[in-house]
Amino acid sequence: MSTATVNPEFALALETYKPVLGFEVHVELSTDSKMFCGCPTDFGAAPNTHVCPTCVGLPGSLPVVNEAAVEATIKIGLALNCEIASWCRFARKNYFYPDMPKDYQISQYDEPLCSNGYLDVDVVDSAGEHHTVRVEIERVHMEEDTGKLLHTGGDTGRIQGADYSLVDYNRAGVPLIEIVTKTIEGTGDLAPEVGKAYVTQLRELVRSLGVSDVRMEQGSLRCDANVSLMRKDATEWGTRTETKNVNSLRSVERAIRSEIIRQASVLDAGGKIVQETRHFQETTGDTTSGREKSDAEDYRYFPEPDLIPIAADPQWVEQLRAELPEAPGLRIARLQQEWALTDFEMASIVNSDALDLVVATVEAGADHATARKWWLGELTRIANNDGVALDTLAITPAQVARVGALVDEGALNDKLAREVIEGVLAGEGDPDEVVAARGLAVVSDDGPLIAAIDEAIEANPDVVAKITGGKPQAAGVIVGSVMKATRGQADAAKVRTLLFTKLGVSE
């Protein structure tokens, strides 16, 4: 089933126009301190408590570069196959806004730290075919984040209609890495999928470097999508719009699709596309008009005089290159092959943010099927229920491996295993400790089992008659009764076997 048949407007647009894309992705680094001062960067602190003269822009304050942020940027650049500048500077981007303490942002202008790279993105079309799209990277540069505005009093939380606004500078100065693609042409009707795949795989890549939490819902990964259309016979690009507020991977896809449809209908009606910033609306899937971007605002860039140039030691860069982890795309492909999984199965693991956990569980001794079963099953259920990320659950891959091993040994069944997991999460200790403390071992001693079976046989003569009369499936009732009597601690299969043996009937 192709996208085209699902969305006729989209298919129609693609008959006349070629979409042209571009992405600006901002990554908030998880360094201990801010880009230009020593304030902490953790999310969620009380307002204006992680601030100092420098990140609040007090008169007389000065910036000092965070070396860890420079290192993280170089790593991102190297992972994206970029050239690392031997010498570059910071620049001031000047504009007035209350969330910007200095009323200029320290960024990089014509001398980015990393440039001219690429990311080979794996895109799957509606027919399940894989395509590799090389997304070229224009630049990766460093800048500082702004504070956060809270508009109070209006209905929507937006500035329109608000009585007043509050500003929290905790986030001001947090290191922000901007990754800008070159123009992406030739994606045709796969444009939305290419966009989603690019952001997904870029996110995976950055995550694998350990430099950011890259959580779109928390704002540590932000995506702006640029879209324009050109007629199929045209030689020049059309006017582009920039869509912001794209807060999830799925929104990337939806936003691109909706913007293509919108622009096509404007052009079809003889209108012109306004070069502007648009906002993606989660609820409707549409984009709405934001600020008009008439000829890029003049930021009066000039080299930052309070900082000296960055000249990364080439030996250091090479060392960082050597230390880069395996590229996620390659790792995923390798594991998928090793585990003989389908694309769908592999995607499920990756999209649940479970891959590292599954791999670690395998490394702790489990087989991959068991590891997947528990992480994608019960543990994902619990994480979603509690509204937390999978990797924040209070259970380690080694403990999950142990639970799996206990089940394999027959010491636990699935039901008991779930109780053990519950106990571990509750802080009652390792799996074996929980088993002992809660008395959760499978009853394997035949004695009590046989006694329970005898009782059930006596209580259900008509069921027994059915079993011996050629309907072995009726045994379920007896087994169920025994399980109940043993508080679920019997191995159901064993009970069944014992029952049939007793009745002298084959299973």
């Binding site: 007090l58 008169p59 007389g60 000047n94 009066r300 000039f302």
Partner: protein
């Protein structure tokens, strides 16, 4: 000796003399501070050197020094010496205005590194001195709080932007002061008030807590009545600061040793052709020539040098400075500190920012912000800021070439003596010309000093000579300056400042 004579006596002494007297137990730090506070209370209404006098804080600092000494601690060479601080430096809890109404009432929550170093040296900070608003000016007339008056003639300007610091020292309200020099704002006031002032090598003294005017030009520096005092203060301030990425991580030159050496025999002294002649007041040129002759008699070899690109220095400076200033002053938007004007519940944030800046900034500041915004704007950057930076490189090369030939360069510090208050206010360009001799050093980033070399015959007002040294060779300033000062003091029988009229 009665109390009055004693008090005049203490405030007439140099920092070195005061420090020695305190170390010897002849006088307490508290007495020294009290006498200076009394002097301020007595004369500052006429001079208006101070914007804020910290009576309580100064006394407490002095008492603390006395307590340390009583406890047997060995203290540094400036312990207990009072210092006046240009109001451009943040001092925790003390009003800091940068001479502007936009910061009226602001008390910073943190100390500048300068303040930290003064405290480490056990100096006593008496208060904050007046200045042209955000250090933009050459006369202190652009202060948002009224002008400072030259102690030599209270109808005249004390120079700028650091007129308050220079006047405080010249009026014996403090033996030492700290200034900042972006285009001559320490040196030119020193020149017109008959005192000594130094702009250290750029990066030699921390800018952390120095309210920025032009980041690539600003430098904090010492002011005093003698070269040796200036050296002690320089040594206390200078040195690497990790909080200032532009501060140099190099050993501080031995400025005190150089000031004590005062030996110019065999030194080659370059006379900058472009910084003389037409445009220089006759009496200024005369005293300058006499001073050069003295240096020759002391064993130095004066040589004429040409720095042809100095001709473009003023133009380059008045492009670079406003550009950087327009960006540095953007933060004064009424949102986080300082005054906020027009937030009546009906105005949006851009309107409140505009109203605040319109009300809080003076004309000269607005003028330069507009110039700078224009110079940096799209389409003009290459022609203005970009070109000016290239000129800067050429000027640095002129200095390099000159210093290949000579050990130091000299020139008059300023083209004229102190002009009358109000005389140049209507003509900004005429005002800018005051800096023509001092600006090249700020552009190249090397070091320079101004010291008094006499009174101009036509008006009886102080004339200053400027010594320029290569970057990180600040000690040469003190060596040459001390030698010249000793010879002149010998000739006059006293320091020039002793001839200033009684207030």
């Amino acid at each position: 000796m009665n109390a009055t004579t004693d008090s005049m006596h203490l405030t007439r002494r140099t920092a070195s003399e005061l420090a020695a007297a305190m170390a010897a137990g002849e006088v307490s730090a508290r007495e020294v501070t009290d006498e200076h506070l009394a002097r301020i209370d007595s004369v500052d209404e006429q001079i208006h050197a101070f914007l804020h006098v910290d009576h309580e804080g100064a006394r407490a600092q002095a008492d603390a020094v006395d307590a340390k000494r009583a406890a047997g601690q060995t203290l540094g060479p400036l312990a207990g010496v009072p210092v006046a601080l240009k109001d451009v430096f943040t001092q925790k809890g003390i009003p800091t205005t940068a001479g502007s109404r936009i910061l009226e009432g602001w008390r910073p929550p943190y100390d500048s590194t300068i303040v930290t170093r003064l405290r480490d040296a056990d100096c006593v900070i008496l208060g904050k001195t007046n200045m042209d608003e955000f250090a933009m000016g050459s006369s202190t007339e652009h202060s948002g709080y009224g002008p400072t008056r030259n102690p030599w003639d209270t109808d005249r300007i004390p120079g700028g932007s650091g007129g308050g610091s220079a006047a405080a020292v010249a009026a014996f309200e403090a033996p030492l002061a700290i200034g900042t020099d972006t285009g001559g704002s320490i040196r030119q006031p020193a020149s017109v008030t008959g005192t000594v002032g130094v702009k250290p090598t750029y990066g030699g003294v921390s800018r952390y807590g120095l309210i920025a005017l032009a980041s690539s030009l600003d430098q904090a520096g010492p002011c005093a009545r003698t070269v040796l005092d200036t050296a002690y203060l320089h040594a206390a301030l200078a040195g690497h600061d990790p909080k200032d990425s532009t501060s140099l991580d190099l050993a501080v030159p031995d400025v005190v040793g150089a000031a004590k050496r005062a030996d110019v025999r065999g030194l080659r002294i370059g006379l900058v052709k472009q910084l003389s002649g037409e445009g220089y007041q006759a009496g200024v040129s005369q005293r300058f020539d006499e001073a050069v002759q003295i240096l020759r008699e002391l064993g130095a070899e004066p040589v004429e040098v040409s720095c042809p690109n100095f001709e473009y220095a003023l133009a380059a400076y008045y492009l670079i400075l406003p550009s950087e200033a327009s960006s540095n002053l953007a933060r004064f938007d009424g949102m986080r500190f300082g005054i906020r004007v027009g937030d009546d519940g009906n105005a949006n944030v851009e309107e409140v920012m505009s109203r605040t800046r319109a009300a809080g900034f003076g004309d000269e500041v607005k003028r330069r912000i507009m110039l700078g915004t224009y110079a940096l704007s799209s389409g003009y950057y290459d022609a203005y800021y970009g070109q000016a930076q290239k000129v800067r490189t050429l000027i640095a090369r002129d200095f390099d070439a000159a210093f290949n030939e000579v050990d130091v360069l000299v020139s008059p510090t300023a083209p004229t003596t102190a002009f009358k208050i109000g005389e140049k206010l209507d003509d900004p360009l005429a005002m800018y010309l005051n800096d023509v001799a001092t600006i090249p050093v700020n552009l190249a980033g090397n070091a320079a000093m101004s010291l008094p070399i006499g009174l101009a015959p036509e008006d009886g007002l102080p004339v200053g000579l400027q010594i320029m040294a290569p970057s990180m060779a600040d000690d040469r300033l003190y060596n040459v300056g001390a030698a010249l000062e000793a010879a002149l003091t010998d000739r006059w029988g006293h320091l020039l400042i002793e001839e200033a009229p009684a207030l």
